[in-house]
Symmetry: C2
Subunit: 265 residues, 2 copies
């Protein structure tokens, strides 16, 4: 089954566009998890078990696991294995923001799709389509290209203009018109830039966007939904991490966020 | 000691601009290493022991280790630990091509500089300076920004023009004039694009370039050196991986490449 189909099915079943970022940080974990041998995995398991029917997918970010080195990668693998076994209907996005030359990307493809066996990955566009072909060739997987990122300084390069068009717009057009031959491309568009969400939706048809930046980063849920939804009243993966997983009651916070999103659909 | 100082010292001591990429691949390893418990580490140790006095640095690419998952990260760590213990004068570049939003980059910084304890890393410019500040803040480390990459399709975005200037040129100017406050920036410029090496040298002063693309990728050593050397007759880290490490006699091949480079200095 393709990533898109798996995602669409769960969006319907759970009536949710909410993606929870599984981004554990030792200093922020509740004490009971620190006593576990695999603290990150134990924490993720708790988050997953309490929120699995509220989400359309989970998104671990590789950086938080790599911070612990070899052990961290083991905990990331345990997390993915647990999801695939106990919640096989939930898609997993590895937020890895990778991008190397072609022959080297084969290594990342092995790590992400063969070892961790996740359903989708985020990638950098800077090296061009020829370099990221090993990702694009995985037809059944979601290849999520960074377009307009959520950080405050995103515009330094992304907003520069090629003639009348910004770089992020050029990226969007290439992804939509050239890179998406296998119908497996998505794009990252930050909720902190709702105008750009609107602009990119206009040229992207029904393509799904991964939308970080709601929650701790302060992105505007209402505006993003009003302008970013596709013709199927979906097409947005609204991602939140810190503000849910480190809340006093993560399930309550996830439910609140899911409902806020649905209010504006 | 800063990365740059460590590099300059070894360039002089070994009279070499050659960087060897430690990029093991199971299918290509000589048989004797496959029987080892830690095949990648055993192979790297062999390469290091036979070439250490011919290089100015080593450059493992993270992708090749991640391909093996948790075990691979362990072998990467062993390789870095071995270098730091037995050859502490040799700088290590982790070719990781990372780049996330600021708070997330902290995780990568921990992995690369605190866990692996390497001396330098390659990063993507697409998210802008604000995002990569956690890297730039590590004054003693080398932060190597992708500018003009060595792959055939590099130009898809990098050659687009903002007014009269290409994107890679804009990146170069930002790195040289804004990002380099801690004097710890370098740039990636592929040997497969010698004209661009010349152009970027003109605006980069004596900044060091990491130059992949010689060897298997066919980059032009002579042209790159004739136009890319800085005023100190250095400033280029000439990187080769496959054509040296998988040669019948890696030491011989490394020596040949080192000498070819020195012929044109």
């Amino acid at each position: 089954m393709t990533f898109q189909k798996k995602l669409d099915d769960l969006v319907k079943k759970n009536n949710s566009l909410l993606c929870i970022g599984l981004d554990p940080v030792l200093e922020k974990l509740p004490k009971q998890f620190l006593q576990e041998k695999f603290s990150f995995f134990a924490f993720n398991k708790f988050i997953i078990d309490t929120t699995h029917n509220l989400v359309c997918c989970y998104k671990p970010n590789s950086a938080f696991y790599e911070a612990l080195g070899e052990k961290g990668i083991g905990e990331l693998k345990k997390t993915c294995d647990y999801l695939k076994k106990d919640y096989p209907e939930i898609p997993i996005i590895l937020d890895a923001k990778r991008g190397d030359i072609g022959s080297t990307n084969e290594g990342y493809v092995q790590f992400i799709f063969d070892y961790l066996q996740v359903d989708a990955v985020t990638i950098h566009p800077y090296l061009g389509q020829e370099a990221i072909q090993p990702f694009l060739d995985r037809k059944e997987k979601g290849i999520i290209v960074l377009c307009k990122t959520s950080n405050p300084g995103a515009g330094e390069f992304q907003d520069l203009r090629i003639g009348k068009e910004t770089i992020y717009r050029k990226v969007a057009k290439r992804v939509v018109r050239k890179w998406n031959k296998n119908k497996n491309c998505l794009m990252v568009v930050g909720a902190t830039y709702p105008k750009e969400v609107k602009e990119i939706r206009k040229l992207a048809g029904d393509m799904t966007f991964l939308v970080p930046g709601i929650g701790a980063q302060g992105g505007d849920i209402k505006q993003t939904l009003q302008t970013g939804l596709n013709s199927q009243n979906a097409g947005l993966i609204m991602s939140s991490s810190r503000s849910i997983i480190f809340a006093k009651n993560p399930r309550e916070e996830a439910e609140k966020t899911k409902n806020t999103i649905n209010r504006y659909r």
